[in-house]
Symmetry: C2
Subunit: 396 residues, 2 copies
């Protein structure tokens, strides 16, 4: 196990190495983008693939930020003293080897490698093939920085094989890999979940709702509904459906629909919603189920909080769900009943994030219930182990 | 979510119902055993299958014991206060639906159902087909007790289909099942791990070692080595290999080998071990890898603690590993370096157990690193959820 200071020095060295290699990284990224354009990659995906000086700088800063966080390893999580004199300690330990499979976003290569390294684990990285050249040089740079400090470079490994079967094989190396984190679209995640025998943590599918209750303050509701949709539509904690109590609909809907329209949001609404604005398109069940990740939203009028909860139960992805209400009982009911990683009262869904929760970083937001739920920071990348201290005790 | 008192009353009702139904349960069990004998089930498996009045009583007592344990649900695990005024609480919540697949041990039907019920989860039970009649009546009895108290009986479900494909289908109901726990032999566990898309927790394979260090006190070492092997050879936390530092071998080995022999233990030893006792059989690598679960053990002389750690790394199953030593540095080294759910200093491996750890019960001992490691009690059967309390906060 590496000492905390050794890890932090190495992270600083990795950051400096990325900065020093910026020209080569941008050159490799240029080749990726050239090929990606030939492959007709969409503008949004091209943007995610694109690196520039500022983005390389941001990767380096991400690594530096990790050095400020407490070491999650070797912490005493619990002490138990037994009547027979046994002293039991529950101690945090690294998971071991963490594999991350992600789309063509080269910044994830540095992020995931850094997080796993700080958490004491080795990382296996498999990014989207459109970013192959970028990932190769970024991983090589990080590995060189490790080696220059006398550390084994193989604790960061980029899987370069262009062969798609490589992923299939990876998914079954249970003996060697302790955790597999798929980051990306629902298709990738489902494939990994179906095919992997390695424990997987599902992250990032967020069909999040904002429910505006009868008693909501108008101003709060407007702020939250706008912020949840508009502050960054492409991320998983952005709202995708707005649910409105029918008794507040006449006051609230005209304002919010107009505000959305003004911001260029395409709106799919139920019959009642459409009465308040002729530009609203009719909403289908598919519209309620979609994670738009874009300037697009579904809006539905509901009879009460129970209908809101039912709707969320049917269409939600167990990510983040918000209620706007001044009614304490309804707030409590919503918190208790909604089945999601995070339930929010009078706050934007956009706060469900490792940084905003004070974790300092995150590798993703888990939407499953095992091991970790919600934002996963360093602590959520750890396992634990029991130390049992005896004086010769035997069991009767 | 059921109230704690409601759950405890129901558990008492289930216990009473099992006792009241004892004659019918024994009748069903008689049919199972009749068929099992025709199917040439081994004596050991027949014993595990067998119920009698005392064993039914023990199942009932197990359910009653659960009522004494604190409710693991709705506990505040952590409170976070953010600079923007957001109050975040991390709250324990049930996993949802827990499926348990196990061999022909009808007592597991009541145990697993009771544990999951107390943990707030529904249970799906699939026991070995040799115990089909017993499982059917036990599950029906528990369900009737729930129904009589106005609770939905379907929160305990026994999968009765004799069709082996039923398990295959179960393994892929990821949408409906939150956790799958295979209990039983390595074959069953590996099948489940390979085929399931549902999160699995591996339990119970224990190739556990006792390492007697150079500085060990002879008496402690003898007690621990005997207890770890003999107190209950058929369970996963029993020792399967004894490792002995070469400098203590001449003093320790003659005594322990004789003691094992006297107790009827079959011994597989390395060349050095065999010098101390002519009855010791030569040990092969397969002998070091085997989980005997019987009066049988492998014994090896090692040069030092490092060779002991290497041996454990190669052959261990990450369950429970013990060192007997008076050397504090070696104790610390062993605790830190050995890759197992539990590392013990001067104590028998047999203590790695939910009851002995003070958890009050256990559904198994996890040998994987994700979610829960080591003994799994009620707390390890829970998930969590974040409650975020705001006053209208939006994200910049």
């Amino acid at each position: 196990m590496l000492d905390s200071a050794v890890k932090n020095q190495a992270l600083l060295a990795m950051a400096a190495a990325l900065e020093a290699k910026t020209p080569k990284i941008l050159q490799a990224n240029f080749l990726d983008r050239q090929r990606a354009r030939q492959n007709k990659l969409s503008a949004a995906l091209l943007d995610r693939l694109t690196l520039n000086e500022k983005r390389v700088q941001a990767m380096a800063e991400g690594l530096r930020a990790l050095t400020k966080l407490p070491d999650p390893n070797n912490r005493v999580l619990e002490k138990i003293r037994r009547p027979n004199g046994l002293r039991i300690e529950k101690i945090s330990v690294p998971l071991g080897v963490i594999a991350t499979i992600y789309e063509a976003r080269p910044n994830v290569t540095a992020d995931a490698a850094g997080l796993c390294f700080k958490a004491g684990s080795a990382s296996l990285l498999r990014g989207g093939s459109d970013a192959a050249e970028s990932n190769k040089i970024i991983a090589a740079t990080l590995r060189q920085a490790l080696q220059a400090r006398g550390l084994p470079p193989d604790i960061i490994q980029n899987i370069e094989s262009a062969d798609r079967h490589a992923v299939g094989e990876l998914l079954n190396l249970r003996e060697y890999i302790d955790l597999l984190i798929p980051r990306g679209g629902a298709g990738l995640i489902q494939k990994v979940v179906r095919e992997s025998s390695i424990p997987v943590i599902e992250t990032g599918t967020g069909n999040c709702h904002v429910y505006v209750d009868e008693s909501a303050r108008l101003k709060k509701a407007l702020n939250i509904a706008l912020n949840a949709k508009l502050s960054r539509p492409s991320v998983c904690n952005a709202a995708e459906t707005l649910l409105v109590h029918e008794k507040i609909a006449a006051k609230f809907l005209p304002q919010i629909l107009q505000a959305y329209q003004k911001a260029g949001v395409k709106i799919h609404g139920c019959v009642k919603t459409r009465k308040y604005n002729p530009a609203v398109l009719p909403a289908t069940p598919e519209d309620y189920a979609r994670e738009y990740l874009d300037l697009e939203i579904a809006v539905k009028v509901v009879a009460d909080i129970d209908e809101a909860l039912e709707h969320i139960y049917r269409y939600g992805t167990k990510h983040s769900e918000a209620i706007v209400t001044e009614n304490k009982q309804n707030a409590e009911k919503f918190l208790q009943k909604v089945d999601a990683a995070a339930a929010l009262v009078n706050a934007s869904t956009r706060f469900v994030d490792g940084g905003e929760f004070g974790f300092g970083c995150e590798i993703g937001i888990s939407t499953q219930k095992l091991h970790a739920r919600g934002p996963m920071g360093l602590r959520e990348l750890m396992s634990y182990k029991y130390f049992v201290h005896g004086k010769g005790q035997i069991r009767k």
